[in-house]
Assembly symmetry: C2
Homo-oligomer: 236 residues x 2
Amino acid sequence: MSKLRIAEIFGPTIQGEGALIGEPTVFVRSGGCDYRCTWCDSMHAVDPVHRHEWAAMTTDAVWGEVSRLSGGGPLIVTLSGGNPAIQDFGPLIRRGKRVGYRFACETQGSLAKLWFSELDTLVLSPKPPSSEETVDWVAFDACLEAAKGCGKVVMKIVIFDDLDYGWARVVAETYPDLPLFLQPGNPDVDPDVAVDPQQVADRLEWLVGKVIEDRWYTARVLPQLHVLLWGNKRGV
Amino acid sequence: MSKLRIAEIFGPTIQGEGALIGEPTVFVRSGGCDYRCTWCDSMHAVDPVHRHEWAAMTTDAVWGEVSRLSGGGPLIVTLSGGNPAIQDFGPLIRRGKRVGYRFACETQGSLAKLWFSELDTLVLSPKPPSSEETVDWVAFDACLEAAKGCGKVVMKIVIFDDLDYGWARVVAETYPDLPLFLQPGNPDVDPDVAVDPQQVADRLEWLVGKVIEDRWYTARVLPQLHVLLWGNKRGV
Protein backbone atom coordinates (compact mmCIF):
# COMPACT_ATOMS: atom_id res chain seq x y z
CA MET A 1 0.00 0.00 0.00
CA SER A 2 1.45 3.34 -1.03
CA LYS A 3 2.13 5.85 1.68
CA LEU A 4 0.99 9.43 2.03
CA ARG A 5 3.56 12.19 2.35
CA ILE A 6 2.40 14.31 5.26
CA ALA A 7 3.99 17.61 6.27
CA GLU A 8 1.98 17.96 9.47
CA ILE A 9 -1.20 16.91 11.21
CA PHE A 10 -2.41 19.37 13.81
CA GLY A 11 -5.44 20.51 15.73
CA PRO A 12 -8.11 20.54 16.70
CA THR A 13 -8.19 24.25 16.10
CA ILE A 14 -10.66 26.41 14.24
CA GLN A 15 -10.68 26.78 10.50
CA GLY A 16 -9.41 30.30 10.05
CA GLU A 17 -10.74 31.14 6.61
CA GLY A 18 -13.27 30.53 3.89
CA ALA A 19 -16.57 28.72 3.85
CA LEU A 20 -15.97 26.85 7.10
CA ILE A 21 -14.49 29.77 9.01
CA GLY A 22 -14.76 29.33 12.76
CA GLU A 23 -15.43 25.59 12.63
CA PRO A 24 -13.33 23.24 14.75
CA THR A 25 -11.17 21.04 12.56
CA VAL A 26 -8.06 18.90 12.39
CA PHE A 27 -5.71 19.76 9.56
CA VAL A 28 -3.90 17.13 7.53
CA ARG A 29 -1.31 19.03 5.55
CA SER A 30 0.15 16.96 2.76
CA GLY A 31 3.66 17.47 1.45
CA GLY A 32 4.32 18.46 -2.14
CA CYS A 33 2.87 20.95 -4.57
CA ASP A 34 2.73 21.49 -8.31
CA TYR A 35 2.68 25.27 -7.73
CA ARG A 36 5.20 27.72 -6.30
CA CYS A 37 3.17 30.78 -5.45
CA THR A 38 5.42 33.74 -4.66
CA TRP A 39 3.59 34.45 -1.42
CA CYS A 40 3.02 30.84 -0.32
CA ASP A 41 2.47 30.67 3.44
CA SER A 42 3.14 26.93 3.62
CA MET A 43 6.52 26.48 1.95
CA HIS A 44 7.38 23.84 4.56
CA ALA A 45 4.79 21.68 2.79
CA VAL A 46 5.74 22.75 -0.72
CA ASP A 47 9.46 23.17 -1.27
CA PRO A 48 11.21 19.82 -1.87
CA VAL A 49 14.03 21.11 0.32
CA HIS A 50 11.72 20.17 3.19
CA ARG A 51 10.93 16.77 1.72
CA HIS A 52 12.92 14.90 4.33
CA GLU A 53 10.66 16.45 6.98
CA TRP A 54 7.52 14.96 5.44
CA ALA A 55 6.46 11.75 7.09
CA ALA A 56 5.62 8.75 4.91
CA MET A 57 2.47 7.47 6.55
CA THR A 58 -0.09 4.83 5.75
CA THR A 59 -3.73 5.83 5.66
CA ASP A 60 -4.17 3.93 8.92
CA ALA A 61 -1.40 5.93 10.55
CA VAL A 62 -2.87 9.24 9.38
CA TRP A 63 -6.28 8.18 10.55
CA GLY A 64 -4.85 7.11 13.89
CA GLU A 65 -3.32 10.54 14.43
CA VAL A 66 -6.49 12.40 13.39
CA SER A 67 -8.48 10.20 15.71
CA ARG A 68 -6.04 10.71 18.61
CA LEU A 69 -5.95 14.49 18.21
CA SER A 70 -9.71 14.84 17.95
CA GLY A 71 -10.27 12.62 20.95
CA GLY A 72 -12.60 10.31 19.10
CA GLY A 73 -15.28 12.93 18.63
CA PRO A 74 -16.21 13.35 15.00
CA LEU A 75 -15.41 16.68 13.43
CA ILE A 76 -14.47 17.97 10.04
CA VAL A 77 -10.99 17.08 8.79
CA THR A 78 -9.35 19.59 6.48
CA LEU A 79 -7.02 18.24 3.83
CA SER A 80 -4.61 20.97 2.80
CA GLY A 81 -1.07 21.29 1.64
CA GLY A 82 0.85 21.77 -0.49
CA ASN A 83 -1.63 20.39 -2.93
CA PRO A 84 -3.48 17.42 -1.40
CA ALA A 85 -4.75 16.48 -4.86
CA ILE A 86 -1.32 15.08 -5.67
CA GLN A 87 -2.09 12.11 -3.45
CA ASP A 88 -4.86 9.59 -2.87
CA PHE A 89 -6.89 10.61 0.15
CA GLY A 90 -9.87 8.47 -0.86
CA PRO A 91 -9.13 5.69 1.64
CA LEU A 92 -8.70 8.21 4.49
CA ILE A 93 -12.00 9.90 3.64
CA ARG A 94 -13.83 6.58 3.55
CA ARG A 95 -12.21 5.51 6.82
CA GLY A 96 -13.29 8.68 8.62
CA LYS A 97 -16.76 8.92 7.15
CA ARG A 98 -17.58 5.46 8.47
CA VAL A 99 -17.43 6.90 11.99
CA GLY A 100 -19.10 10.22 11.33
CA TYR A 101 -16.18 12.46 10.44
CA ARG A 102 -16.57 14.93 7.59
CA PHE A 103 -13.90 16.02 5.14
CA ALA A 104 -13.00 19.27 3.47
CA CYS A 105 -10.19 19.71 0.97
CA GLU A 106 -8.43 22.86 -0.17
CA THR A 107 -6.70 22.75 -3.51
CA GLN A 108 -5.88 25.15 -6.32
CA GLY A 109 -7.80 23.04 -8.80
CA SER A 110 -4.90 21.92 -10.96
CA LEU A 111 -5.39 18.19 -10.49
CA ALA A 112 -8.74 16.39 -10.54
CA LYS A 113 -9.23 13.39 -8.28
CA LEU A 114 -12.08 10.92 -8.15
CA TRP A 115 -12.12 11.21 -4.36
CA PHE A 116 -13.29 14.84 -4.63
CA SER A 117 -16.80 13.43 -5.03
CA GLU A 118 -16.60 11.87 -1.57
CA LEU A 119 -15.80 15.15 0.20
CA ASP A 120 -18.25 17.20 2.20
CA THR A 121 -16.65 20.45 1.07
CA LEU A 122 -14.23 21.11 -1.76
CA VAL A 123 -12.56 24.51 -1.76
CA LEU A 124 -11.05 25.39 -5.12
CA SER A 125 -8.66 28.31 -4.88
CA PRO A 126 -7.36 29.37 -8.29
CA LYS A 127 -4.30 31.53 -7.85
CA PRO A 128 -4.36 35.16 -9.01
CA PRO A 129 -1.63 36.94 -11.00
CA SER A 130 0.37 37.99 -7.91
CA SER A 131 1.14 34.31 -7.31
CA GLU A 132 3.07 34.23 -10.61
CA GLU A 133 1.36 30.95 -11.34
CA THR A 134 -0.93 30.41 -14.33
CA VAL A 135 -4.26 28.69 -13.92
CA ASP A 136 -5.02 25.78 -16.22
CA TRP A 137 -8.75 26.25 -16.60
CA VAL A 138 -9.22 22.94 -18.37
CA ALA A 139 -7.82 21.24 -15.28
CA PHE A 140 -9.97 23.45 -13.08
CA ASP A 141 -13.09 22.40 -14.97
CA ALA A 142 -12.02 18.78 -14.62
CA CYS A 143 -11.93 19.32 -10.85
CA LEU A 144 -15.49 20.63 -10.93
CA GLU A 145 -16.53 17.61 -12.95
CA ALA A 146 -14.76 15.24 -10.55
CA ALA A 147 -16.44 16.92 -7.59
CA LYS A 148 -19.94 16.00 -8.66
CA GLY A 149 -21.49 14.32 -5.67
CA CYS A 150 -19.42 16.37 -3.24
CA GLY A 151 -21.54 18.05 -0.58
CA LYS A 152 -20.53 21.58 -1.48
CA VAL A 153 -18.02 23.14 -3.87
CA VAL A 154 -16.88 26.70 -3.26
CA MET A 155 -14.23 28.97 -4.69
CA LYS A 156 -11.76 31.01 -2.67
CA ILE A 157 -9.56 33.67 -4.19
CA VAL A 158 -6.73 35.43 -2.39
CA ILE A 159 -6.41 39.11 -3.33
CA PHE A 160 -3.15 40.98 -2.91
CA ASP A 161 -3.68 43.96 -5.20
CA ASP A 162 -5.88 45.62 -7.79
CA LEU A 163 -4.69 43.29 -10.51
CA ASP A 164 -5.74 40.24 -8.47
CA TYR A 165 -9.05 41.90 -7.74
CA GLY A 166 -9.84 42.55 -11.40
CA TRP A 167 -8.84 38.99 -12.21
CA ALA A 168 -11.16 37.66 -9.52
CA ARG A 169 -14.06 39.62 -10.99
CA VAL A 170 -13.57 37.94 -14.35
CA VAL A 171 -13.25 34.51 -12.76
CA ALA A 172 -16.44 35.11 -10.77
CA GLU A 173 -18.30 35.97 -13.98
CA THR A 174 -17.06 32.75 -15.53
CA TYR A 175 -18.23 30.64 -12.59
CA PRO A 176 -21.39 32.40 -11.37
CA ASP A 177 -22.74 29.29 -9.69
CA LEU A 178 -19.74 28.75 -7.40
CA PRO A 179 -20.12 30.45 -4.01
CA LEU A 180 -17.14 32.79 -3.82
CA PHE A 181 -14.99 33.78 -0.86
CA LEU A 182 -12.45 36.57 -1.19
CA GLN A 183 -9.55 36.80 1.21
CA PRO A 184 -6.98 39.57 1.57
CA GLY A 185 -3.48 38.28 0.88
CA ASN A 186 -1.01 38.00 3.71
CA PRO A 187 2.45 39.25 2.70
CA ASP A 188 3.99 38.43 6.10
CA VAL A 189 4.55 34.71 6.09
CA ASP A 190 7.57 34.36 8.36
CA PRO A 191 6.44 32.08 11.22
CA ASP A 192 8.92 33.76 13.55
CA VAL A 193 7.67 37.28 12.99
CA ALA A 194 4.60 38.49 14.88
CA VAL A 195 1.70 39.83 12.83
CA ASP A 196 0.08 43.10 13.83
CA PRO A 197 -3.72 42.57 14.13
CA GLN A 198 -4.14 46.13 12.89
CA GLN A 199 -2.58 45.10 9.59
CA VAL A 200 -4.99 42.18 9.27
CA ALA A 201 -7.82 44.65 9.89
CA ASP A 202 -6.41 47.19 7.41
CA ARG A 203 -6.10 44.65 4.61
CA LEU A 204 -9.63 43.41 5.25
CA GLU A 205 -10.96 46.96 5.22
CA TRP A 206 -9.28 47.60 1.90
CA LEU A 207 -10.89 44.57 0.28
CA VAL A 208 -14.30 45.18 1.82
CA GLY A 209 -14.14 48.75 0.51
CA LYS A 210 -13.51 47.58 -3.04
CA VAL A 211 -16.26 44.97 -3.01
CA ILE A 212 -18.81 47.41 -1.59
CA GLU A 213 -17.79 50.19 -3.96
CA ASP A 214 -18.33 47.86 -6.88
CA ARG A 215 -21.60 46.55 -5.44
CA TRP A 216 -20.24 43.06 -5.81
CA TYR A 217 -22.85 41.41 -3.66
CA THR A 218 -22.23 37.79 -4.56
CA ALA A 219 -18.75 37.69 -3.03
CA ARG A 220 -18.10 37.08 0.64
CA VAL A 221 -15.07 38.77 2.16
CA LEU A 222 -13.31 37.10 5.06
CA PRO A 223 -9.97 37.52 6.80
CA GLN A 224 -7.64 34.77 7.97
CA LEU A 225 -8.60 34.42 11.62
CA HIS A 226 -5.59 32.23 12.37
CA VAL A 227 -3.30 35.04 11.25
CA LEU A 228 -5.20 37.43 13.47
CA LEU A 229 -4.84 35.03 16.38
CA TRP A 230 -1.47 33.47 15.94
CA GLY A 231 0.37 35.27 13.16
CA ASN A 232 2.09 32.67 11.01
CA LYS A 233 2.91 30.28 13.81
CA ARG A 234 2.62 26.68 12.69
CA GLY A 235 0.48 23.98 14.22
CA VAL A 236 -2.41 26.17 15.34
CA MET B 1 -51.09 51.55 7.19
CA SER B 2 -49.04 51.41 10.36
CA LYS B 3 -45.52 52.70 10.21
CA LEU B 4 -42.25 51.04 11.15
CA ARG B 5 -40.01 52.62 13.75
CA ILE B 6 -36.56 52.62 12.24
CA ALA B 7 -33.40 53.59 14.11
CA GLU B 8 -31.16 53.47 11.06
CA ILE B 9 -30.78 51.98 7.61
CA PHE B 10 -27.20 51.66 6.44
CA GLY B 11 -24.94 49.84 4.06
CA PRO B 12 -24.12 48.11 1.95
CA THR B 13 -21.38 46.81 4.19
CA ILE B 14 -20.40 43.28 5.12
CA GLN B 15 -22.20 41.30 7.78
CA GLY B 16 -19.63 41.24 10.56
CA GLU B 17 -20.72 38.21 12.51
CA GLY B 18 -22.52 34.89 12.60
CA ALA B 19 -23.76 32.60 9.88
CA LEU B 20 -23.56 35.20 7.10
CA ILE B 21 -20.21 36.65 8.14
CA GLY B 22 -18.46 38.42 5.29
CA GLU B 23 -21.56 38.74 3.12
CA PRO B 24 -22.53 42.14 1.70
CA THR B 25 -25.75 43.37 3.25
CA VAL B 26 -27.87 46.40 4.01
CA PHE B 27 -28.94 46.69 7.64
CA VAL B 28 -32.40 47.83 8.66
CA ARG B 29 -32.16 48.51 12.37
CA SER B 30 -35.56 48.83 13.98
CA GLY B 31 -36.16 50.94 17.06
CA GLY B 32 -37.40 49.43 20.29
CA CYS B 33 -36.54 46.37 22.33
CA ASP B 34 -38.16 44.25 25.01
CA TYR B 35 -34.72 43.56 26.52
CA ARG B 36 -32.13 45.75 28.20
CA CYS B 37 -28.92 43.72 28.04
CA THR B 38 -26.25 45.25 30.25
CA TRP B 39 -23.70 45.19 27.43
CA CYS B 40 -26.02 46.17 24.58
CA ASP B 41 -24.03 47.65 21.70
CA SER B 42 -27.08 49.24 20.07
CA MET B 43 -28.68 51.28 22.84
CA HIS B 44 -29.47 53.96 20.27
CA ALA B 45 -32.03 51.50 18.91
CA VAL B 46 -33.18 50.23 22.30
CA ASP B 47 -33.47 52.93 24.94
CA PRO B 48 -36.74 54.93 24.65
CA VAL B 49 -34.68 58.04 25.39
CA HIS B 50 -33.68 57.79 21.72
CA ARG B 51 -37.24 57.25 20.56
CA HIS B 52 -37.52 60.69 18.99
CA GLU B 53 -34.55 59.76 16.77
CA TRP B 54 -36.36 56.77 15.30
CA ALA B 55 -38.02 57.53 12.00
CA ALA B 56 -41.63 56.49 11.46
CA MET B 57 -41.49 55.02 7.98
CA THR B 58 -43.91 53.20 5.76
CA THR B 59 -42.82 49.87 4.30
CA ASP B 60 -42.54 51.63 0.95
CA ALA B 61 -40.21 54.23 2.42
CA VAL B 62 -38.00 51.60 4.05
CA TRP B 63 -37.92 49.64 0.84
CA GLY B 64 -37.06 52.77 -1.12
CA GLU B 65 -34.07 53.45 1.10
CA VAL B 66 -32.83 49.83 0.96
CA SER B 67 -33.18 49.91 -2.79
CA ARG B 68 -31.38 53.25 -3.09
CA LEU B 69 -28.48 52.17 -0.87
CA SER B 70 -28.01 48.87 -2.62
CA GLY B 71 -28.14 50.49 -6.03
CA GLY B 72 -30.84 48.18 -7.27
CA GLY B 73 -28.70 45.08 -7.13
CA PRO B 74 -30.31 42.37 -5.05
CA LEU B 75 -28.50 41.41 -1.86
CA ILE B 76 -29.40 40.15 1.55
CA VAL B 77 -31.13 42.63 3.86
CA THR B 78 -30.48 42.19 7.57
CA LEU B 79 -33.27 43.12 9.95
CA SER B 80 -31.80 43.90 13.33
CA GLY B 81 -32.48 46.18 16.24
CA GLY B 82 -33.42 46.56 18.96
CA ASN B 83 -35.73 43.63 18.49
CA PRO B 84 -37.16 43.62 14.97
CA ALA B 85 -39.74 41.06 16.07
CA ILE B 86 -41.66 43.83 17.80
CA GLN B 87 -42.81 45.06 14.40
CA ASP B 88 -44.33 43.69 11.22
CA PHE B 89 -41.63 43.28 8.60
CA GLY B 90 -43.71 40.84 6.54
CA PRO B 91 -44.69 43.42 3.89
CA LEU B 92 -41.06 44.58 3.52
CA ILE B 93 -39.85 41.00 3.10
CA ARG B 94 -42.47 40.27 0.48
CA ARG B 95 -41.69 43.53 -1.33
CA GLY B 96 -37.98 42.75 -1.54
CA LYS B 97 -38.30 39.08 -2.38
CA ARG B 98 -40.36 39.93 -5.42
CA VAL B 99 -37.22 41.48 -6.95
CA GLY B 100 -34.67 38.93 -5.78
CA TYR B 101 -33.59 40.33 -2.43
CA ARG B 102 -33.09 37.96 0.46
CA PHE B 103 -33.78 38.63 4.12
CA ALA B 104 -32.10 37.73 7.37
CA CYS B 105 -33.35 38.69 10.81
CA GLU B 106 -31.54 38.76 14.12
CA THR B 107 -33.65 38.55 17.25
CA GLN B 108 -33.30 37.21 20.77
CA GLY B 109 -36.25 34.89 20.29
CA SER B 110 -38.61 36.50 22.77
CA LEU B 111 -41.40 37.26 20.29
CA ALA B 112 -42.63 34.92 17.56
CA LYS B 113 -43.81 36.40 14.30
CA LEU B 114 -45.54 34.73 11.38
CA TRP B 115 -43.19 36.52 8.98
CA PHE B 116 -40.23 34.51 10.34
CA SER B 117 -41.32 31.77 7.95
CA GLU B 118 -40.69 34.07 4.98
CA LEU B 119 -37.07 34.80 5.90
CA ASP B 120 -34.05 33.27 4.24
CA THR B 121 -32.14 33.21 7.52
CA LEU B 122 -33.37 33.62 11.08
CA VAL B 123 -30.69 34.14 13.72
CA LEU B 124 -31.96 33.48 17.22
CA SER B 125 -29.63 34.84 19.87
CA PRO B 126 -30.77 33.94 23.37
CA LYS B 127 -29.01 36.17 25.87
CA PRO B 128 -26.63 34.62 28.42
CA PRO B 129 -26.49 35.43 32.14
CA SER B 130 -24.09 38.36 31.73
CA SER B 131 -26.87 40.23 29.92
CA GLU B 132 -28.94 40.17 33.15
CA GLU B 133 -31.92 39.22 31.04
CA THR B 134 -33.82 35.95 31.47
CA VAL B 135 -34.71 33.84 28.48
CA ASP B 136 -38.34 32.78 28.11
CA TRP B 137 -37.84 29.39 26.52
CA VAL B 138 -41.52 28.93 25.77
CA ALA B 139 -41.35 32.08 23.64
CA PHE B 140 -38.09 30.86 22.10
CA ASP B 141 -39.74 27.58 21.10
CA ALA B 142 -42.64 29.55 19.63
CA CYS B 143 -40.10 31.39 17.46
CA LEU B 144 -38.75 28.09 16.19
CA GLU B 145 -42.28 26.96 15.43
CA ALA B 146 -43.07 30.22 13.63
CA ALA B 147 -39.88 29.90 11.60
CA LYS B 148 -40.95 26.69 9.90
CA GLY B 149 -40.53 27.35 6.20
CA CYS B 150 -37.67 29.80 6.78
CA GLY B 151 -34.60 28.94 4.70
CA LYS B 152 -32.28 28.44 7.63
CA VAL B 153 -32.53 28.91 11.39
CA VAL B 154 -29.34 29.27 13.40
CA MET B 155 -28.48 30.17 16.97
CA LYS B 156 -25.90 32.72 18.03
CA ILE B 157 -24.73 33.12 21.60
CA VAL B 158 -22.52 35.90 22.86
CA ILE B 159 -20.02 34.79 25.50
CA PHE B 160 -18.53 37.23 27.98
CA ASP B 161 -17.30 34.88 30.71
CA ASP B 162 -17.17 31.34 32.03
CA LEU B 163 -20.72 31.54 33.32
CA ASP B 164 -22.02 32.46 29.86
CA TYR B 165 -19.95 29.68 28.37
CA GLY B 166 -21.37 27.02 30.67
CA TRP B 167 -24.86 28.33 29.98
CA ALA B 168 -24.26 28.10 26.23
CA ARG B 169 -23.21 24.48 26.59
CA VAL B 170 -26.50 23.61 28.25
CA VAL B 171 -28.49 25.53 25.63
CA ALA B 172 -26.61 23.74 22.87
CA GLU B 173 -27.51 20.39 24.39
CA THR B 174 -31.15 21.43 24.47
CA TYR B 175 -31.15 22.46 20.80
CA PRO B 176 -28.74 20.03 19.15
CA ASP B 177 -30.27 20.54 15.71
CA LEU B 178 -29.70 24.31 15.57
CA PRO B 179 -26.38 25.28 13.98
CA LEU B 180 -24.59 27.25 16.70
CA PHE B 181 -22.31 30.27 16.43
CA LEU B 182 -20.42 31.50 19.47
CA GLN B 183 -19.14 35.04 19.60
CA PRO B 184 -16.87 36.66 22.17
CA GLY B 185 -18.62 39.53 23.95
CA ASN B 186 -17.50 43.07 23.30
CA PRO B 187 -17.32 45.12 26.49
CA ASP B 188 -16.23 48.30 24.69
CA VAL B 189 -19.39 49.69 23.13
CA ASP B 190 -18.70 53.41 23.12
CA PRO B 191 -18.90 54.50 19.46
CA ASP B 192 -16.43 57.30 20.13
CA VAL B 193 -13.70 55.11 21.57
CA ALA B 194 -11.39 53.21 19.24
CA VAL B 195 -11.17 49.44 19.67
CA ASP B 196 -7.77 47.78 19.75
CA PRO B 197 -7.72 44.92 17.18
CA GLN B 198 -5.41 43.06 19.55
CA GLN B 199 -8.22 42.96 22.10
CA VAL B 200 -10.60 41.53 19.51
CA ALA B 201 -7.97 38.89 18.77
CA ASP B 202 -7.39 38.17 22.46
CA ARG B 203 -11.07 37.64 23.21
CA LEU B 204 -11.43 35.37 20.20
CA GLU B 205 -8.40 33.36 21.26
CA TRP B 206 -9.85 32.91 24.74
CA LEU B 207 -13.12 31.52 23.39
CA VAL B 208 -11.45 29.34 20.76
CA GLY B 209 -9.26 27.91 23.52
CA LYS B 210 -12.24 26.94 25.63
CA VAL B 211 -14.14 25.32 22.76
CA ILE B 212 -11.13 23.34 21.64
CA GLU B 213 -10.21 22.29 25.19
CA ASP B 214 -13.73 20.94 25.64
CA ARG B 215 -13.73 19.31 22.21
CA TRP B 216 -16.93 21.12 21.46
CA TYR B 217 -16.89 20.43 17.75
CA THR B 218 -20.45 21.41 16.89
CA ALA B 219 -19.96 25.08 17.76
CA ARG B 220 -18.48 27.62 15.38
CA VAL B 221 -16.50 30.46 16.90
CA LEU B 222 -16.43 33.80 15.12
CA PRO B 223 -15.40 37.34 16.02
CA GLN B 224 -17.23 40.53 15.16
CA LEU B 225 -15.42 41.67 12.04
CA HIS B 226 -17.07 45.09 12.10
CA VAL B 227 -15.58 45.72 15.54
CA LEU B 228 -12.19 44.65 14.20
CA LEU B 229 -12.59 47.04 11.27
CA TRP B 230 -14.45 50.01 12.65
CA GLY B 231 -14.65 49.67 16.43
CA ASN B 232 -18.13 50.65 17.48
CA LYS B 233 -18.64 53.34 14.87
CA ARG B 234 -22.21 53.44 13.63
CA GLY B 235 -23.41 53.09 10.08
CA VAL B 236 -20.73 50.71 8.84
